[in-house]
């Protein structure tokens, strides 16, 4: 019996590539030390900075909840009742102007207003991107593009544009169209379109071609084939990509706010720069709760469409 076992153990084995493993190990170590040295890695500095961080945390505690809950911090116009400002109600022309000025200028400067504006920016930017990327995805997929030249040019352009980070797009747009949430929306729409086109066109390339054949065989034209053979196979993926990007765009919209493109990021930046840590802490906490809620809702929604 042991003889039989030996017989199997004697079968030729592939040689162990010890040299190769060693080389890979050395290469990984070299890259890691190169990266740490280049970035002046210094844990001592981090440790030395700890008391300052503790100090900052102490200064921001307790958060100034008044900014979120105190009606005074919303600077409602004295000329109007709060119902007249917040709810649709009959107003004179002059009152109308006051009301609009408050909504346009004061409301986005409040914590609640800024947060809601960030959400609005993420929704609008993602929706525009979904609108653009749906047709572009078909052009950028090998199996649905009308011509190889269209496929290659759309793919190359989108790949190049995707390499631009969204805050860089934001900086360019700020110098072009100025500060404000519309700039943020445009930057998000731009950056998100390039990502969605890639994801969507890859989903289209992975469909079951058999259904396409079957619909072509009925004498259907190009758009009928898209509608019956392609869209039903990729729609769930597309919706799921859009929801996922919305989730990412909530965070991206905050970062865009830091560079001046509206929303809660703008407030947070202003508070940090003026050392109002107790106020900044409120923005940070609100943002954490918002991101958690959106993450949870997004996961639920994406499970529902699949």
């Amino acid at each position: 019996m042991s003889g039989a076992t030996d017989q199997y153990l004697d079968l030729p084995r592939p040689p162990r590539a010890m040299g190769k493993r060693l080389a890979v190990g050395i290469a990984v170590l070299a890259v890691l030390s190169w990266a740490f040295l280049g970035t002046q890695f210094n844990p001592a500095e981090l440790i030395a900075g700890l008391p300052k961080m503790a100090d900052m945390a102490k200064q921001s505690w307790p958060p100034d909840w008044g900014r979120l809950f105190d009606p005074a911090d919303y600077h409602l116009p004295e000329e109007l009742t709060w119902q007249q400002t917040l709810l649709p109600s009959p107003l004179t022309e002059e009152q109308q102007e006051i009301r609009e000025a408050w909504w346009a200028n004061t409301w986005p400067q409040t914590i609640l207003g800024g947060t809601i504006q960030t959400i609005q920016m993420a929704i609008a930017g993602t929706a525009l991107a979904a609108l653009f990327s749906f047709p572009l995805g078909f052009l950028a997929a090998r199996n649905t593009s009308p011509h190889p030249s269209v496929y290659y040019s759309v793919k190359v352009v989108v790949n190049v544009l995707r390499s631009i980070p969204d805050f860089a797009v934001g900086l360019v747009l700020i110098s072009a169209i100025g500060l404000g949430p519309f700039t943020g929306v445009s930057a998000l729409a731009f950056a998100t379109t390039t990502v969605l086109v890639k994801l969507f066109s890859e989903a289209i390339e992975n469909i079951d071609q058999g259904v396409v054949e079957a619909i072509q065989a009925t004498g259907a034209n190009r758009f009928q084939v898209y509608s019956f053979a392609v869209v039903p196979q990729v729609m769930a993926d597309f919706i799921s990509f859009v929801i996922y990007r919305f989730e990412a765009n909530i965070r991206a919209a905050t970062v865009l706010g830091l560079i001046g493109a509206g929303g809660i990021g703008l407030l947070m930046n202003a508070d940090f720069r003026t050392f109002q840590y107790q106020q900044a802490a409120v923005s940070v906490l609100v943002l954490i709760v918002l991101v958690l809620i959106v993450d949870f809702a997004s996961a639920r929604l994406r499970r529902m469409v699949q």
């Binding site: 079951d208 058999g210 259904v211 054949e213 004498g219 259907a220 009928q224 509608s227 019956f228 039903p232």
Partner: protein, 279 residues
């Protein structure tokens, strides 16, 4: 307003399709069809036999140009593609709308059924009328009441009316193939091509699907061409058997003329090895 499609009745003694010198070489250099000459009559039930790679599937796909033939001719009477002058048309040379008009007269069923799984059974059946439907409306999956009625009638004919609003992936394989047949019927086809239509089904379902296809062939005078690999099924249902081997036709005749020599030629093997084929 689009008109309701009607079926075409050709005189029985006129050929529906005349194929001559059909060659197909794939881009890799693989020559799959090496000069095929065949013609088909209206209302024939034809079984095509052959090993994998013999060229059966490529031949069927050349007929509706899902595969582009390298050379050869496929002639059909002009009335089949709704030409007013009724001149003979070479399908190898048509393109655009005229190709779509030919395709809408040729139904096709597949081994894997190829239904749009997330659409309803009814929408899948309706997709068979795309060649006749309003191009824009139908792209939004909107069809006239007459078309919906026709779809439900065809669904009833294959025995699946109660499943009209089920999703296509919620029904069994045999039912999916029936939906695919109803989709083909929506085309008011002159011909139905079956690419191994029963190869994914159990023996009992295979019989019921082939029986359904033969009834359609008999009742509507539709030419049916099916690739099969089970010899007994071909013998049982076909009016005519065509054997393919190495990209050429090696047998063409009624099933009772299929002797051991021709079977050997089709399967390129000794008869004893063929016991399994005719189980």
């Amino acid at each position: 307003m689009t008109r309701q499609p009607t079926s075409i009745l050709l005189p029985r003694d006129l050929d529906l399709v005349q194929v001559s010198g059909l060659h197909k070489t794939y881009p890799g250099g693989q020559e799959v069809l090496k000069g095929v000459d065949l013609s088909f009559r209206p209302g024939e039930f034809v079984a095509i036999l052959g090993l994998s790679g013999a060229g059966k599937s490529t031949f069927l796909r050349c007929l509706n140009r899902l595969v582009e033939p390298t050379s050869g001719r496929i002639l059909v009477p002009g009335m089949v593609v709704d030409r007013p002058d009724d001149a003979v048309v070479d399908i190898v040379r048509v393109k655009g709308q005229e190709l779509q008009r030919w395709r809408r007269r040729v139904g096709m069923v597949f081994q894997q059924f190829n239904l749009a799984k997330r659409l309803s059974v009814l929408d899948n059946v309706l997709s068979g009328s795309l060649g006749y439907a309003h191009p824009t409306m139908s792209s939004f999956r909107l069809f006239s009441e007459q078309e919906r009625a026709r779809a439900l009638r065809n669904l009833d004919r294959v025995g699946l009316l109660p499943l009209a609003y089920q999703r296509a992936d919620a029904i069994s394989g045999g039912q999916q193939q029936r939906v695919a047949i109803a989709r083909a019927l929506m085309q008011c086809p002159a011909m139905i091509l079956g690419d191994e239509p029963v190869a994914s089904l159990d023996p009992k379902l295979s019989l019921s699907i082939l029986e359904l296809m033969r009834n359609i062939c008999r009742e509507d005078g539709i030419t049916v061409l099916v690739c099969l690999h089970v010899l007994d099924l071909a013998k049982r249902y076909a009016d005519r058997v065509i054997g393919f081997a190495g990209g050429q036709v090696v047998f063409d005749g009624p099933p009772d003329k299929l002797d051991d020599i021709s079977i050997r030629r089709i399967y390129q093997a000794r008869t004893e090895e063929l016991k399994g084929f005719s189980a």
